[in-house]
């Protein structure tokens, strides 16, 4: 073979590879922190910047800086005006009318009016668009969204199927965008070309590397300190911590508890613990999908109560989560929880006693019955270790527990939503501190998720249904407290804890993270 031919073949191969590469505008390196630049590192890259497609925490954090909402839940759980300055609810409670501030515009200069608000809702709800994000997938289903209409230049009405006292808070999760700009774009273009309505304007997104946004000066409703925010993607926890300590990153989320000391000792950054709102629990599976002694046993209230005493939650928090905690008494966060319920104490002797009494004595091998506990991996704080520890606690009182840890998205979720995730399953459910009903909506029906175990206590569900006829907040509160007692006495979960969140924050920064896992930096500044 001649040298020429050889060279030619080589050239063709190289050309093929290079030809496949894009000739996009040149990328740059992720900017570092400076006087007016804030750098935040998250573990995942953005999946979509189109508001109704946004479903993950990481995407929502970014999008929330670029798109404003009608109302907003502030750092302390209050629902406060944002794009809208006022709202009213119709007599029958099915229509919420928002009054917008004047002189709003989107980032391309288009005026933001009631028409745009209605367009935002209709676009998200349109099945032809096939959106699966938080807005159509969770908010609309929860508020029973029906329609939206323009009342006047600045007044838009959202129509619901029925009254919900939590509607306003839920509607505060919908990111508003303008009609003309989004009508011009295909769904595909809208994924990566956000035209926002909030305090920061999109600049560039280098996939799997970073996203850069700049303060948009024409936005007057908020006045954040930083001119630029860089959202870096750093998948490995140790790398995130190292970059924080080295001063290349200002904020990181989910610092592993065992690295707290190293961060605090560095002198460059500290770990800020936050009382998170995510409710971590072990659910009981009430379906007949498993034929086992365990499946029968956990249908009995006495057994489920007995298991509460088996798990030492305060020690789990102290050792594995890195902070002391109080055990949950139900599914509602403070301050909306039931004030008079005492957390179940850790009392293995009592657990054994109750199980003996319930008709499940230890057999010859010391085992009462055998259960399977399934869980996803690396989704919640230190979950792999927490789950294994819970299995050990249950083992200790004679309930032999087979711990199965698997990939969260690919394996666990499909099992969970089909009630196949073992007789026991470990999950965390996002919470809120602005209304008890928002969190109680986990058990809005006997037969649909997120009632993953299909608990069906009529005492609970009859009251739940009665709530849509109650307008008086005090009356509502009374029913809520009764329901929380039902929940406590006939527990569908092994009650655990509200997950603490740990933010690694650079010492140059003056910023208090929120309780609801959202990273919002409008109030961040340099010290």
């Amino acid at each position: 073979m001649s040298r020429l031919r050889y060279a030619a073949t080589l050239l063709i191969l190289v050309a093929l590879i290079v030809g496949a590469l894009p000739s996009s505008p040149a990328k740059a390196q992720a900017p570092g922190p400076d006087e007016k630049t804030l750098v935040i590192a998250q573990s995942q890259d953005v999946q979509s910047l189109d508001p109704p497609q946004v479903g993950s925490r990481t995407d929502d954090n970014i999008v929330s800086h670029m798109f404003a909402t009608l109302y907003e839940i502030d750092d302390f759980g209050n629902i406060v005006p944002f794009l809208a300055k006022d709202y009213r609810i119709s007599e029958d409670g099915t229509e919420v009318t928002f009054v917008l501030n004047e002189g709003l515009t989107c980032h391309d200069g288009e005026p933001l009016t009631a028409e745009d608000v209605v367009y935002t809702f209709k676009r998200a709800a349109d099945p032809a668009n096939g959106f699966t994000g938080n807005t159509p997938g969770f908010v609309f289903a929860s508020v029973a969204y029906k329609d939206a209409r323009v009342d006047s230049e600045l007044e838009a009405t959202i129509v619901l199927e029925r009254y919900q006292s939590i509607a306003l808070g839920l509607l505060s999760e919908v990111h508003i965008h303008c009609k003309d700009s989004y009508e011009k774009m295909s769904l595909e273009e809208a994924q990566s070309n956000p035209i926002g309505s909030g305090p920061y304007k999109f600049v560039e997104w280098v996939k799997d590397d970073y996203l850069l946004m700049e303060k948009w000066d024409e936005f007057t409703l908020r006045d954040p300190y930083f001119d630029r925010i860089v959202w870096r993607v750093i998948p490995e926890a140790s790398t995130r911590t190292a970059e924080l300590i080295a001063g290349n990153v200002d904020v990181i989320t989910n610092v592993p508890p065992d690295q707290h000391a190293a961060v605090n000792a560095s002198g460059n950054a500290s770990v800020v613990p936050v009382e998170g709102l995510r409710r971590i629990y072990v659910g009981f599976n009430f379906t007949d999908n498993f034929q086992s002694e365990c499946a029968d046993a956990i249908k009995k209230t006495e057994v489920r109560v007995a298991l509460q005493y088996a798990v030492d939650v305060p020690t789990i928090c102290e050792a594995l989560l890195g902070v002391p905690c109080e055990r949950a008494t139900g599914l509602v966060n403070k301050p909306n929880d039931h004030p008079d319920l005492e957390p179940y104490p850790y009392d293995p002797a009592k657990a054994e006693e109750l199980l003996d009494a319930a008709g499940y004595p230890r057999k010859g091998d010391g085992v009462r019955f055998e259960c399977t506990l399934m869980a996803g991996r690396n989704r919640y704080l230190n979950d792999v270790n927490v789950v294994q520890t819970i299995c050990q606690y249950l083992d200790d009182i004679g309930v032999k527990t087979n711990c199965q840890l698997m990939d969260f998205r690919a394996e666990f979720i499909p099992l969970l939503v089909n009630q196949q995730a073992g007789e026991l399953f470990f999950v965390g459910s996002g919470g809120g501190n602005w209304n008890a009903l928002y969190e109680m909506a986990d058990f809005a029906s006997e037969n649909s998720n997120p009632n993953y175990g299909r608990w069906s206590n009529p005492e609970w569900f009859n009251r739940w249904r009665s709530l849509s006829n109650i307008r008086d907040p005090q009356e509502e509160r009374k029913v809520v407290l009764e329901m929380l007692e039902v929940f406590y006495n006939d527990p569908p979960w092994i009650l655990l804890y509200m997950q603490p969140d740990f933010y690694g924050v650079s010492n140059r920064l003056d910023w208090q993270p929120r309780r609801d896992e959202r990273v919002i930096t409008f109030n961040a500044k340099l010290k």
Partner: protein, 325 residues
Amino acid sequence: MGRYLARRLLQSILVIFGVTLFSFLSLHLAGDPTLLYVNERATDAQIAETRHRLGFDRPLYEQYLAFMGRLVRGDFGKSLVTKTPAMELITTRLPATIELTVFAMLLAITLSIPIGLLAATKRGTPYDGGIMLFAIFGQSMPSFWLGLMLMLYVGLHWKILPISGHVPLLDPLLAGDFKTAIGNIPRALQHLIMPGVTIAMFSLSRNARLIRSSMLEVLALDYVRTARAKGLRERTVIIRHAFRNALIPFVTILGLEFGFLLSGVVVVETVFSWPGVGRLVFNSINQRDIPVVQATVVFFSLLFVGLNLLVDLIYARLDPRIRLG
């Protein structure tokens, strides 16, 4: 030569076909992927609607035929997660991965050859022992471990090199911005060193050992002795006579090296936050983003087949006894 190439091309098509079939089946046989594309709190009706929209309710063979039909037209489909064309997802991340792998391969080759040669020519001396110890060490260290250690010590404690991240080189080059590209070189190299060394370590060690032993083999052969007897300088003997032949097994390994490098890339890109294809592959399989997985699989098998063809051609040049065709 022409006939040989034609046959290889035909074989390659067959290979690509088999690869797509395998990946398609393994992604679909494990159950309905729909649940990965809906909200965790979606209702049954929403799930059914999504299933229909994504076409997962059609018979498998129909889905496969539809996929192949598009593939033949060069359409890899769109990501189910981000809705962007799958090929675009790959090509935007490719430059970073090419920078990393080329750098790692250069390291592995340029360092392993002199190291292996040195060990072979100084056989039995402390040089040889030291090199071999290092090589065996390098071969028995998991790459994520080496990467993390480098990051913590060289990056964090000693502050010699940047901890993570990427400075683009190929991107500005492809965009025709030569000034930026050249300006980026020093910082880009700094960012390349730790991930590059981490990937290269295994190959570097193995190749050094291979070169050493095949050199020893060749040095003992008659023609080398003849060359020496002719009074040629030792350097000439080693470089001109022995080395060329010792290189043959080495080149074969290089072809297979590619798949190996890719394995390293997945791990190392995660450790050093490198925005490349390795992480795309891992994430898209994790999210079962079927079109992207398919596209990467086809892409990499094409690359692999191409590289092996190249290796065969180089091989033929090095060893005159081999005639292709």
